[in-house]
Each structure stands twice: as structure tokens, then as C-alpha cells.
């Protein structure tokens, strides 16, 4: 901050906060003028393609490049032998992943050889002629990985990496790469005191995030530095890994991010950048590597899960014990798996007031393609199970499902996890709104059943309470906000421009927010965990206030008063006696045309809170479903989302985050599933077999009502959004199906499973 702090915060100048302005990037995107990495063409650029392992686990005996090397147009074949430094493994939590397989392949689809050529066709042709001999090893999956004689996916020691936290302490033991344990209260005593106990086994499939732009990167080596353009969410963390892999200083790796064609977690952390950089390192020309969607599925996916979950309650319906034993399949490499398993463990109890909790979640290596982040992870994995068991308890206790929840819902300040910040939101009013919304149940047509359900998403959000921003205000009143956040479609650039316009008192059209460039934009940890508006938005607000403070000092001088007596409102500085100085007159005192003021905004340090999570992202949802008894078909009639955003800086962007998240969650619950063969080969390798929601699949009515209590840690009381429904919607859909007698223990709830459950009615015992 500048020496001269602005004392009175500027009031609304452009009415920007809470205004659903048109996105500045929308028209560019409509017209096909928005540039994504795959659209860049650099002089002399070469193209890379990747040869992937056809087997799930094997020694690589020999790689014969002789025939391939003669391919016309080929520039270079690259193998693990070409790695420039002794650091051959990457991974932000566990350093377990090679850029290219050296002696062992661990999943079907693992990269083995890169061909670099004048065009993709020549590179592909060369790869067809590469001859690799594999000596097969036994494979493991989630069913076999923990047996005592299971082959190890990583028999060699795995080093920890740079992103460690006391909460997620990953350690490889056998095929388990991280174990979460949370035990509080007296589980056995709670169980002994229970009047009602429900316990079942559940499975959760692996989904594919399907960002429509596949992972794309261009890398260029100049001497001992690397310039990288990538469609990634977390450029600063990718930079860290590339610097380590290539033995470079952080500033010798420059990451630039243009528009990103969707992320949802699939572009968080490091994906294909090391391959692009290795290829570029070997050829001294820019190299472009763009996945096909089929390759992107093999690059990252969501963790599938098996869980045994127990709920015990007293005769009054008070919840006593939530016990869960969870296995998460992270595939051959850890990537973000330990964090995903941690969040899953944290989310397993849900927002309820347990007497005791006993949760173990293991993150397990298998011979499958690696799994990473997907929107709302953890909450998406477990909330549907938790709410489903609460409905079962309500039935056993003879209580209304809302009444049961009212007796147990955590109040503000209630504890979700002993080592984490207490709940910082009020769920009770949302519960009442959901109950009201579902008060009238439509009557079904003959042969149909109509069920209603509810769920809460409670996601630890914000990742890390640190952010930086730089703001620049030019003499002509135009401003630029420089941040490391990436624009993945969520509208971060729009919201930052609103905040800047609001604080600086300039029109929205006067503010631009360029993309992230690690050589220019200040450090930002990541774009994810709903943190951009909350954390970076706050840094933007502070950077702009810093500028206003500098202007106020000049204005005070001109007005002949001391700076603390100057007020900034409606783009005007005024003294107590009513004399005023418009913003543009103050700016006119700057140097020649291009001169500017630079403001700095920092979140983290000083009086800023350090507790974790930064905030709890909560969302209540309700669903009404119609089931066709004859076919098992499910049609979603209505969903209601109540995302708690503190303050909506752009209500429309929040609403479309909710609708997008709702439909992705609907796909997750009813449609989507990656299916693997016995050796880990993907049986659903493309969008033909992997079915995502289409326009005709969405709920007939989708409503979103924002919860705004102005209580978020972000700018103007805002909190992030867009992940809560991923916990809430699957839970609402599952409990709605349960409401009409469909037993759901395995997702996705396909028509076949619904039909089977309806036809098993009465005869189905507990597992």
C-alpha cells in the first residue's frame, strides 16, 4: 500500500458491484477471434505427436527407432534418454511421474516416444514405425492393489515434492500414496448408543472432465530458457515443475496463458507441458503439442472410488456416528490425488453435527491413467452417500427428512473437521427454502413416479490465502489489471474489471485485464478452488485502492488540505469544505501522455487471516425427478440451486456457473462413466462411447437463487462459486430417486440400474 491510505472507501462510482455487465470477451469469442493456444502460429513452429503404451504395466525392453527415423518430414524422435537433467520425475505432491517412460510403463496410454516433425501427419507416420518391445508385468486395479502380494506400481522410492501441507502429508506405502485419517469423539461408544444404523458399500465411477479445448501447449527453447504457452489453469505451479525438470531458475521459464477452453480442474497442475518442453529442448524450434480429446482422457480424469459408509443415529434422529472407509483410484501417478483423497475424507461427514467421526480415505496407485482434479472433488464423491443415508435414517426413525436435517444441521461456527476453520455460512435458511420449494409435489402420469430430493455441497475452498495484483491507471483514465489468474471461461477477467472500475471510478470499458504471463504478472498460486474472485479479486481491490490513495495525496495538495480529509466519490476528490477535484484533473498532473500510477495489492501477511480453508463454499440444492417404470429412464423435471456467494459481484455470471455446474453434475450422476478393461485399457476412449449431457438432457426447469449475506472473505463480502452444486446436485438427484423407491449405491444411475432396482423391489437386502 502507498503511504497515503485512502480513508473513506470510495462509494459506488459506476454501480459496478452487483451489476451483470456484458462480458468484455464475449463478442470476441462469438466471432472466433479469441485466440487459444492451439490457434497460435509461431515462425518455424514444429509439431509433436506422442506414442503411447498399448499395455498397462511392462518393462520397456527396447525402443527401435531405425525405421521411423527415415520418415520424410521428421525432425527428431525423442525418448526418455534425451532428458536434459538428472531430475526425471515431476508431480507437485509426489515426484513420481516421468515425462516419457524410461524402463517401465504403468498405464495404457503412457507416453513413450515423441516425434517432432514439420506437421502432425509426418509425426504420426514416424510413430507408426517406432518398434517398442514390452515385457509385461502384472497389473493392479482398485480391487487388487491392496492385497498383501499385489505387485507395486511404484516399487522404487517416491520423493515428496514442493506442494506439501501439514494437512495433506502424502507418503507412499505399498500401493497407497496417501492415507487420510480423521477420528473424533468416541466412535465405538456412539455406535453402541445408536438406535438406528445404516451401512452400505458404494461405488463412484471415474468421469472425464471434458474441457472442450484439449490440453494444448507450445514450447520454445532459447539458450537455457523456455517460453511456454499452455492451456493451463495454474501457470505458476507448472513453471515450478518445469524449472525443476530442466534445471532452470524460475525466471528462465516463462509461462503464458491465453484464453482457455474450459478447465473444471482438468488443466490444473502440470499435464503435457513437460513433453512439449522436452521436445523443444531437443530441436531448438517452437514445438506445438495439442492433444486429441482421446489423449486428454488419458492425461487426466476424475478419481473413481469405493466406499463403505455407516451412519448411526439415536432414536430421536440425532446423528451419532459417521464412519467411512474410502478407496480412491489415482491411477499410475499421484498428481493431485492426495488432495482429492483429503477433500473426500473431509467431506464424508457432511455439514452435520456428529457426536463422533471415524473416516479413513486411502489414495491408491493402480495401472490406470492418472486421475486429478474435477470440480467440487470430495464433496461430489461423498455428499450423495451421506444424504442418502440420512434419508434412510429418517425413514427408520419415522421422521420427516427435513425435520431430521433440522435437528442435525451444523450451525455457523460448527465443526466440520477438528483442524479446519469452522463453518462460516448459515445453512438453515437454505434448508427452509428447499423445503418450501418442494412443498408441492407434481402428480405423476400412469407408469411414472415423481420423487424429490435435497443435498448440500460443502467444499473447502480458496486453496491458499495468498494473492497478488498490480493495477495501472494511465493519465488518460484507462486502467489495466495485471494478475496471474487464468480466464478459463468463469469470467475472472470480467469480475476483476468490474472491481477495478468500481474502485477507480472509471467506466468498465476503460479497464483491460490481459492473460497470465509469469514474466510479467505477479505470482498467483492457481485458478481453481473457487479462489479467483475471492482472493485475487481482493488483491485487485487493494491494488486499485492503492492508486486511489496516491491520487488522494495529489488531490489533497491541490485542495490545500491534508490527505486524510479527502474523500473520493463519483470519480471526484472532495474536501470537507465542499471544494472538489475531478479524477481527470488529478490525472492531468501526471507526466506526459503515457504516464501512469501503479498500484499494488497483496493478500496474505499483516492482519489477513491464515486459517484453512479460506472459506467453505456451500450450496443447497433440490431436485424433482420423474422415473419411467417401464424403461428405468430418469428425466429431471426441476432443480433449484442456492449457492451462497456472500456478495454477487456479477449475479448473472454466478447463475450461469450454477447452471453449468448443475448440468455437469447431472451428467456425473446419471450418464457419465469411464469404463476400463482388465488391464486398464479404456473401453470408452472417445466421445462416441463417453456420453456427456446434451441440450435435451438438462432439467426442464432450472432455478438458481443466490444466497447473499455479504459475509465472504473476498472483495465486498464476496465468496467464490461454481463448485458447490457438484456436491449438492448428485445428492439431490440420488435422494429424489430414493424417494420413489430406487436404491442407489452405484453411480451413474443408468436406466438399467433404475429398472433393476425397481424390479428388485422388496427382495433387495442390505449389502
Amino acid at each position: 500500500m502507498s503511504d497515503t491510505e485512502i480513508l473513506a472507501p470510495p462509494t459506488v462510482s459506476g454501480g459496478m458491484i452487483g451489476e451483470s455487465v456484458a462480458r468484455p470477451d464475449a463478442r470476441t469469442k462469438c466471432r472466433g477471434e479469441a485466440v487459444y493456444v492451439g490457434d497460435l502460429e509461431l515462425p518455424g513452429m514444429l509439431h509433436a505427436k506422442v506414442l503411447r503404451s498399448p499395455v498397462g504395466h511392462a518393462h520397456v525392453e527396447r525402443i527401435d527407432l531405425t525405421a521411423a527415423a527415415r520418415t520424410p518430414g521428421l525432425v527428431r524422435l525423442v525418448t526418455a534418454a534425451d532428458l536434459p537433467s538428472a531430475n526425471t520425475r515431476y508431480g507437485h505432491i509426489l515426484r513420481d511421474q516421468p515425462i516419457l517412460a524410461d524402463d517401465v510403463v504403468r498405464f495404457v496410454g503412457e507416453p513413450v516416444v515423441i516425434a517432432v516433425a514439420g506437421d502432425e501427419a509426418a509425426a504420426t507416420e514416424a510413430l507408426d514405425l517406432v518398434d517398442v518391445s514390452y515385457d509385461p508385468l502384472p497389473t493392479v486395479d482398485l480391487d487388487t492393489a491392496l492385497s498383501p502380494d499385489a505387485p507395486l506400481v511404484h516399487p522404487e522410492p517416491v520423493e515428496p515434492s514442493f506442494l506439501r501441507s501439514p494437512l495433506v502429508d502424502a507418503l507412499v506405502q505399498g500401493n497407497v500414496c496417501y492415507k487420510y485419517t480423521h477420528r473424533r469423539g468416541e466412535p465405538d461408544a456412539a455406535l453402541a448408543a445408536a438406535a438406528h444404523v445404516v451401512e452400505h458399500d458404494y461405488t463412484f465411477p471415474s468421469a472425464y472432465q471434458y474441457a472442450m479445448e484439449p490440453h494444448s501447449a507450445i514450447a520454445h527453447r532459447q539458450g537455457t530458457s523456455l517460453s511456454v504457452w499452455s492451456s493451463c489453469q495454474h501457470p505458476f505451479l507448472v513453471r515450478q515443475e518445469l524449472a525443476q525438470l530442466f534445471g532452470l531458475d524460475l525466471d528462465d521459464v516463462r509461462m503464458q496463458v491465453l484464453f482457455v477452453g474450459g478447465g473444471y480442474g482438468s488443466k490444473s497442475y502440470t499435464t503435457i507441458e513437460p513433453m512439449a518442453c522436452l521436445a523443444a529442448w531437443c530441436v531448438n524450434a517452437p514445438v506445438r503439442l495439442v492433444n486429441t480429446v482421446e489423449e486428454s482422457i488419458l492425461t487426466t480424469r476424475q478419481h473413481n472410488m469405493r466406499a463403505r459408509v455407516l451412519t448411526a443415529a439415536g432414536s430421536d434422529g440425532r446423528v451419532l456416528l459417521r464412519r467411512a472407509e474410502i478407496l480412491m483410484d489415482t491411477g499410475a501417478y499421484g498428481t493431485n490425488g492426495p488432495t482429492v483423497a483429503f477433500m473426500t475424507g473431509v467431506s464424508a461427514p457432511g455439514p452435520y453435527d456428529w457426536q463422533a467421526v471415524d473416516v479413513v480415505a486411502r489414495c491408491v496407485y493402480t495401472n490406470r491413467c492418472p486421475a486429478g482434479s474435477y470440480r467440487g472433488f470430495g464433496s461430489s464423491h461423498t455428499q450423495w452417500i451421506g444424504e442418502s443415508q440420512l434419508d434412510e435414517i429418517a425413514q427408520l426413525a419415522g421422521l420427516d427428512r427435513f425435520e431430521l436435517r433440522r435437528r442435525n444441521l451444523l450451525p455457523r461456527g460448527g465443526l466440520i473437521h477438528s483442524d479446519m476453520k469452522p463453518l462460516d455460512a448459515d445453512l438453515r435458511p437454505s434448508l427452509d427454502r428447499l423445503e418450501n420449494a418442494l412443498a408441492e409435489r407434481p402428480s405423476p402420469a400412469p407408469g411414472r413416479r415423481i420423487g424429490t430430493g435435497i443435498g448440500f455441497g460443502v467444499v473447502p475452498a480458496g486453496a491458499e490465502p495468498i494473492a497478488n495484483a498490480v493495477a495501472r491507471l494511465r493519465r488518460d483514465g484507462r486502467a489495466r489489471v495485471i494478475v496471474g489468474t487464468t480466464e478459463i471461461g468463469q469470467g475472472a477477467r470480467t469480475v476483476f474489471a468490474q472491481i477495478a472500475a468500481h474502485v477507480l471510478g472509471v467506466p468498465l470499458s476503460a479497464v483491460t485485464v490481459p492473460g497470465a504471463d509469469t514474466s510479467v504478472t505477479p505470482y498467483d498460486r492457481s485458478t481453481g478452488a473457487s479462489r479467483s474472485t475471492t482472493m485475487v479479486g481482493l488483491a485487485v481491490e487493494r491494488a486499485c485502492r492503492d492508486i486511489v490513495g496516491q491520487l488522494a495525496a495529489t488531490a489533497a495538495h491541490a485542495l490545500g488540505v491534508s490527505a486524510e480529509h479527502v474523500v473520493y466519490e463519483q470519480a471526484c476528490f472532495s474536501a470537507a469544505d465542499g471544494t472538489m477535484l475531478p479524477l481527470h484533473d488529478v490525472l492531468a498532473t501526471l507526466g506526459m501522455a503515457g504516464d501512469e500510477l501503479v498500484g499494488r495489492g497483496r493478500v496474505g501477511g499483516g492482519a489477513d487471516p491464515t486459517d484453512s480453508p479460506v472459506f467453505w463454499e456451500v450450496c443447497g440444492s433440490a431436485a424433482v425427478v420423474e422415473v419411467d417404470e417401464r424403461t428405468g429412464g430418469v428425466s429431471v423435471q426441476h432443480t433449484l440451486g442456492l449457492p451462497d456467494v456472500g456478495t454477487a459481484i456479477h449475479p448473472q455470471l454466478v447463475a450461469v456457473q450454477d447452471s453449468g455446474c448443475t448440468v455437469q453434475a447431472l451428467g456425473q450422476t446419471l450418464l457419465e462413466q469411464l469404463v476400463f478393461g482388465p488391464d486398464g485399457a479404456l473401453l470408452t476412449p472417445s466421445l462416441v462411447q463417453y456420453r456427456v449431457p446434451l441440450a435435451g438432457d438438462i432439467p426442464v426447469d432450472m432455478d438458481c437463487e443466490l444466497v447473499e449475506n455479504g459475509d465472504g472473505p473476498g472483495p465486498f463480502g464476496a465468496k467464490g462459486c461454481g463448485e458447490g452444486p457438484f456436491g449438492a446436485i448428485p445428492a439431490a438427484l440420488v435422494t429424489a430417486l430414493q424417494d420413489v423407491g430406487v436404491q442407489v449405491r452405484d453411480l451413474p444411475v443408468t436406466p438399467e440400474r433404475v429398472w433393476q432396482s425397481l424390479h428388485d423391489e422388496g427382495g433387495h437386502g442390505d449389502s
Binding site: 472466433g32 506437421d119 479445448e213 477452453g261 447452471s659 462416441v688 441440450a695
Partner: protein
């Protein structure tokens, strides 16, 4: 669905150059290209028209949609040689004020912006190309119900918006169109 293109039967080698004469966004183009070149690559890499995006490669997602003789096709599953002597329009052409379809395109662009139907934007040009042509050929009109709109859009995937803002945008545009004549029901498909 794509229009049927001329069959390429006697190409001895897929890399042999084949002459292609076509009109792209109103400009005549005559080039030699490989018989194996996909239309999407031809437009993006050889003509530099990168508004057409590529995603699924299997005719499911619609990001690569362009118009061939006025009808929407998936350029990922179309060969460049298939547009020989045909008229191709891409998003760059439709968005150009000089294009004959621009007035309808412009209605959709305005509605997409207004309804926040654009998030990451990767799917957006494909949606706009499809929608513009479906209105021009009468498939979608002022009387289209939401089921018909969804059916018409079954070849376009969006992962960001949950479709709802897109459907609102489409409905708002259709509401401004004149009521259809009986023959207006005929025409293209999604």
C-alpha cells in the same frame, strides 16, 4: 448431418496433392492439398481460419461446424477435397457484416452476449454457425418449441453453460422472427 461429398476413389497415395477449387467466405480458393486433409485442418492450417475449433474429432461436439452449400457439417469428419466446387462459410464469414447471413448471425451474437451464453467460448462459434443456418433454412423459427430447439442442437456440446443460457438466447432470437409459413418447416438438420 454432413452433406455427401464427391467420393475420392482412385487416389494412389493419401499424401498425393489433389486440386481443390472452392469458395470460402465468398472468396474463391484454388489450392492443391493432400487427399487425406480434413476440412477442419484445411480451414485452420492452410487458410488460417482458426475460428473453427476442433474438439472431439468424431462428429459429436459441433465445435468444428462450418456451412457447406449452406448446410452445417462437422469439418472434422469431412475431407477438404469434398468441398471442391462447393461454397464454404466459416464463423469468420458469418460474423463479417458483408456476409448475407450476417443479420441473423448478429441477432444470435447479441443474444449470446446478453444471456451470458458464452463462457470459455470454445463451443460458441460452432453453436452460432449451426443456429444461423438453422434459422436461414427454416428449421428453427418463431414457432419452434424448446424440444425442437434441443433436438436441433443435439450435435453441439457445451460443457460450461449447462445449455440453459444458450436456450434462453435462442428463444429470445426466435421470438423476434416472423411467424413461419408452412413450407418453412422443411430444410436442414442439426
Amino acid at each position: 448431418m454432413p452433406v455427401d461429398g464427391p467420393q475420392v476413389t482412385d487416389s494412389p497415395d493419401r499424401t498425393d496433392p489433389v486440386p481443390v477449387s472452392t469458395t470460402v467466405n465468398g472468396r474463391p480458393v484454388t489450392v492443391c492439398t493432400s487427399a487425406a486433409t480434413l476440412l477442419v485442418d484445411f480451414l485452420r492450417d492452410e487458410l488460417g481460419l482458426r475460428g473453427t475449433k476442433r474438439s472431439c474429432d468424431v462428429q459429436m461436439c459441433g465445435t468444428c461446424t462450418v456451412l457447406v452449400d449452406g448446410r452445417p457439417v462437422s469439418s472434422c469428419c469431412h475431407l477438404a477435397v469434398d468441398v471442391d466446387r462447393r461454397d464454404v462459410r466459416t464463423i469468420e464469414g458469418l460474423a463479417d457484416p458483408a456476409d448475407t447471413g450476417n443479420s441473423i448471425y448478429q441477432l444470435f451474437e447479441d443474444a449470446f452476449v446478453h444471456h451470458a451464453a458464452v463462457q470459455c467460448g470454445f463451443c460458441t462459434p460452432g453453436f452460432l454457425v449451426t443456429l444461423t443456418s438453422l434459422v436461414r433454412d427454416g428449421t428453427l423459427h418463431a414457432g419452434s418449441r424448446s424440444g425442437q430447439i434441443c433436438a436441433a442442437l443435439r450435435g453441439n456440446i457445451c460443457r460450461c453453460t449447462g445449455y440453459e443460457p444458450i436456450l434462453h438466447a435462442v428463444e429470445s432470437v426466435l421470438a423476434t422472427l416472423p411467424t413461419p409459413t408452412a413450407s418453412g418447416e422443411q430444410g436442414g438438420t442439426a
